[in-house]
Symmetry: C2
Subunit: 366 residues, 2 copies
């Protein structure tokens, strides 16, 4: 047998800036074109974002080729939408010289980043998140993808954006329920990484609920900084990045059990309470972590109990089937104190004894 | 405006081995599993490869989950096939722990590599090429993708395989026309990089046409080595890798104008003759390059003239629309001597005066 070695050691600078401000939508296209001169802009957005006037604010008088996802939301986050976007770009003669601008919430960003990654072996894209969830979390980090008919995020890649533009003014038009649920990601960030930020959220909650732009800018900067520092350590989620899944083990199960009638943030709030309860048993975490987060999440209007139609048994069943479970035992990110995730031998997740988990879930039952 | 920098400088070792031998199909699965212990093997192949007995030779008595592309060939190289493969994997509970084995010609490798790249944010894959084209060229280098309804390779990424297994014994079952046309890639490699290899092809052509395993192993090793050295310099085809497109400017146009009735290698042979003719005008290349390659390609049974239904004007029209053209002027890799592609200021392609191109094409008319 003969052997030929293909030696490919690659070093890539994937760094990018996240720009945060209010009323900066009108500057996005000019700035993105300075970053990528000679590329043609293709805009991806959805019908809600368009109706809210954000497309007009972004493009001004300039004619820009676009694809509008309709209906908006998870229901359109599938591979069929991606093929429609690619065919729309081809019909308009877009090629390798494209620059994709994803203007909208997490769904638009996930679809747009994935389309950019697979169109003609990859074109750059920028994220312009317009929801509390997307501004706090999904627009940074490069996890993009869509669903198949059989499962969520069956298709996906890591593809970092070329730049992210966080305009907190876009949050003014968001409906109250989505706005509040999106702030749960901020609570999560504070809990895993920054006790001072947690205190800031406790003391500035009224300003945040009033959508005060100065407070929103501060929160956006802290969220993005926390997310950036975690992603920098572990781009492809081999270890440290898993702390971002805090609260998500139970959260995803609740979201799924509710048939997605609960918003991601609402389900995540319950997941955070469960994880905090488990940490009291497993890590001897102080009960104040759960108490303080419960108060904060309560003020955001998040549920403290499961809806009556969901019980602990159903959640256990869903979690044991989760792809992150190990031998059917669901695994958790746990905090041994506020701002500090437990790590053991480089592992940030751990399986939890069935009895401990069942007890924590039972306490969430209404 | 506030700015948060996400600093992601990544260094990845994407190196891999290409193993070349005869009768090594039976060792592939065990070797791949040593490389990736604990991953579940999913086999992608096509109906021709299966009928030729290569699947049985690969799997032996072992039950392996598989997807068989049917009909084989370009007609199935589209995004719909990728979604079918992903759904087949999901139905069989394959997840992030998958290892995809692509057994077949260029189409199977292109589809398989792309499916592996986008399934659950990417799983590893190995290439087991079974045609002269795939063994010489497409199995190494990581260019993978599929067509949309509107254009070829509309979807694609760069995704390097984890290992490549070249079993020259698989070529024994290839039909004669495909076998011969695939050898044109070997002629191309020799022309752009290695005059001694060109002489080897001239002197060993009878052995190659008789599919002598020792000669085929030598050729495979030289092809893979040339391709590897080029790809190592320029993974994502920013510059030097473009030399691999030698002969392809006219070749692709001929292939397209024939409605894909000509095989890629047959069209490429005409493209090589045209590029050699142009180099005589533009680079004062010696006429012997064209003469010797003409003799070699002729012995392979390749056409020396365009089919009567294709004329130079039609080719010019197709080339001016090509995405690699610059301001509608098609660009060429040119050899100033056998084994040496011309480079100017880091550019390996150059636009050619319309008169020169028209003349070269006119000489190809039958």
């Amino acid at each position: 047998m003969r052997e030929v070695r293909v030696s490919l050691v690659r070093s890539d600078d994937l760094s990018y800036s996240v720009l945060i401000g209010r009323g900066l939508l009108g500057e996005v296209l000019a700035d993105a074109q300075r970053l990528h001169p000679r590329r043609r802009v293709f805009l991806l957005t959805d019908a809600n974002v368009r109706a809210a006037g954000h497309v007009a604010a972004l493009t001004g008088d300039r004619p820009v080729a676009e694809y509008v996802i309709d209906p908006p939301g998870e229901v359109s986050k599938h591979i069929g939408t991606v093929t429609e976007i690619v065919e729309a770009m081809e019909s308009l003669k877009f090629g390798r010289d494209s620059l994709l601008v994803a203007l909208g919430g997490g769904t638009v960003g996930d679809i747009g980043g994935f389309a950019a990654a697979i169109f003609k072996r990859g074109v750059p894209y920028v994220q312009v998140p317009t929801t509390t969830v997307a501004q706090a979390d999904s627009s940074v980090g490069g996890k993009v993808g869509v669903d198949s008919r059989l499962s969520k995020n069956a298709y996906g890649v890591f593809k970092q954006p070329a730049r992210v533009y966080v305009d907190v003014a876009t949050l003014a038009t968001l409906d109250d329920r989505a706005y509040r649920a999106g702030l749960v990601e901020s609570v999560k960030h504070a809990m895993i990484a920054d006790p001072a930020y947690f205190e800031y959220l406790e003391t500035h909650l009224d300003a945040l609920l009033a959508r005060d732009p100065a407070a929103l800018e501060s929160v956006a900067e802290r969220n993005v900084t926390i997310k950036a520092r975690v992603v920098e350590q572990d781009v492809e989620e081999q270890g440290a990045r898993r702390v971002l899944n805090y609260g998500h083990t139970v959260g995803h199960a609740v979201e799924s059990a509710s048939g997605y009638r609960l918003l991601h943030g609402e389900a995540l709030a319950l997941g955070i309470l469960a994880a905090a309860r488990i940490a009291e048993e497993v890590c001897r975490a102080d009960e104040s972590v759960r108490r303080r987060s419960g108060v904060l999440l309560g003020k955001l209007g998040m549920p403290a109990k499961l809806p009556p139609e969901i019980n602990a048994g159903a959640l256990l069943e869903i979690m044991s089937r989760d792809k992150k479970a190990l031998e059917a035992r669901p695994r958790f990110v746990l905090l041994d104190r506020l701002g500090h995730a437990r790590e053991e031998n480089g592992e940030y997740v751990r399986a939890v004894a069935p009895g401990v988990l069942a007890k924590a879930l039972a306490e969430l039952e209404g």
